[in-house]
Symmetry: C2
Subunit: 324 residues, 2 copies
């Protein structure tokens, strides 16, 4: 993705974002600084900052505040990952050891808290109360989604529950990225341009997570950074399994996942993953992702033309084309 | 404290604060609502909201935004307690089971995160970017202090380290309460009234924590809610031990605390606590607390006279008189 054409427009701005992110632990405890640098070095695609930068430039947001917004988004995303990894007990993310794998739970909780504080401070530095409010509302949505998953599990049999979960987990932050960028450009929440920008963010976020969920069924673990079938193993029913369930509701292994909240027999799991792959369910899920991308592209047609709009269109298409 | 005279002035406003706090989980997951109600029912003195309400009224802050600020302060305080209890493994707080004692670590982390999000949203609802910035800076100070304590331990031998720790842990939030209240009343950070309000908050916060640290040496556990000598047992050197150390640096049990980061032999611990109590160290520490109260009272003389100022003076005196 580092050579994706839509990145060229914002490459300089992304470098400013990196500098701002790296400075967030300056003056604090050396271990906090080391943790922040470890987390930032783990990389990630900076796709949320990229989306915000492109949308903000398209709509005329002032550059310095837009860079701060982009950094705030990546910092909030990183903060949620730190606590997520702790909760999941994950030891690797993006192929690098998680904080959780190296530090005590106490240190990991506090580092996540520190990153939340710095994300909030960056959001405040956009000098926009509306942006600040969007940030805090989004954080509440994300955390509420995680609490629902923790208490209710992820063994859904209905599409709306799945859609709500991926909205809370992923799309809400893309929506935040584009709505906040529109706000910095002066758009009010009841302006058409604001709603259009928000909708673009929502749809690419939904597509992004659906594709992530498909990759769990097909990528090799090198590429995705976790073993294939991981979601199903942990009792998480995503769109491919939901699509398969439409035709094969009685599949005994799928029923076992639903009843036991997971499937830990490696052979049965692999066979179930194979049946789902061969059923056409991944294509059905990919079609749903494409529909979200089409809705995102349709939203773009209501925004001003120009290289940023072209880049946002390319980015939307990239979301579904990246790995299948 | 529920009959303390300085509360009468703000009793109605405190009731509004309670209502606002209780509503913060409305519409979210039922378990989140239950957790919030449990945490709020555990009570606490609402001393931070009281300080903010009195200072804000004294300086003429608009009532609705002041109530929101007071709720935001209590919510932030509660959020930090939830993660603190998790980190300390505490099972009781204010005589009630902690969330940590009843829930999984994952649920506790997420509930704390949710409370942070709601504290930030309340702070945003004060409609003041300056207040918002104070909140996020204070959160970073608090978390940095906890991280320092986690990595470096609390076995200080120098006063400045102790002072920094209690500033981060306690005084920073009192300072936030009064500075934010002054800000809502229209004072700018370089106005004398703003600086005076901030200074009052700083000094009562420092006095409050010093008194808490003294109580750890003398209260019965019923009253303080934790066993006497708890800090020393866990290797935390507070002002009484620092004062004792001035005269008795060679005390072998104190040296054991410093070297081992704690003292788990109950008899040796009790004997050391007795020696510290009989050395006059608690009086020395109480004198330091009184000096902070005097500085707080001196600051008040620069603020407008009136019943709120009298109440703030009574509150400052209460901080040191409450239990000895």
């Amino acid at each position: 993705m580092s050579t994706a054409p839509f990145l060229a427009l914002v490459q300089d701005a992304l470098a400013e974002v990196e500098t701002l992110l790296a400075a967030q632990a300056d003056g604090y405890h050396p271990d906090l600084q080391a943790a922040l640098h470890h987390l930032l070095a783990a990389g990630g695609k900076r796709i949320r900052p990229t989306v915000a930068l492109l949308m903000g430039r398209l709509l005329g947001a002032p550059h310095p505040r837009l860079v701060i917004l982009a950094a705030a988004l990546e910092m909030l995303h990183t903060a949620t990952l730190v606590h997520d990894d702790l909760i999941d007990g994950a030891l690797l993310r993006r192929g690098m050891p998680t904080l959780n794998a190296q530090w005590s739970p106490a240190a990991t909780v506090l580092t996540g808290d520190f990153l939340f504080a710095r994300a909030a401070l960056l959001a405040t530095n956009t000098e926009s109360l509306h942006v600040m409010r969007l940030f805090t509302q989004t954080l509440a949505v994300i955390v509420d989604g995680e609490i629902r998953q923790l208490f209710e599990g992820g063994a859904y049999t209905a599409l709306p529950q799945y859609e709500h979960r991926i909205y809370a987990k992923t799309a809400s932050m893309f929506e935040l990225a584009t709505a906040a960028a529109a706000s910095l450009a002066g758009a009010q929440p009841d302006d058409a341009v604001y709603e259009t920008a928000r909708r673009y963010g929502y749809h690419i976020g939904m597509a992004f997570q659906i594709v992530d969920d498909i990759l769990d069924y097909q990528g090799d673990s090198q590429q995705v950074g976790k073993p294939v079938g991981n979601d199903l193993r942990n009792g998480l029913i995503t769109l491919p399994a939901l699509a398969y369930m439409q035709q094969h509701h009685d599949d005994p292994d799928l029923q076992a996942v639903l009843q036991n909240g997971g499937l830990y027999d490696a052979q049965r799991l692999e066979a179930l993953v194979q049946r789902i792959r061969q059923s056409g369910a991944l294509q059905t899920a990919a079609q749903a992702a494409r529909e979200h991308v089409d809705a995102a592209l349709a939203a773009l047609t209501h925004l001003p033309p120009g290289p940023e709009r072209e880049a946002l269109a390319a980015l939307a298409r990239y979301v579904v084309d990246r790995d299948f």
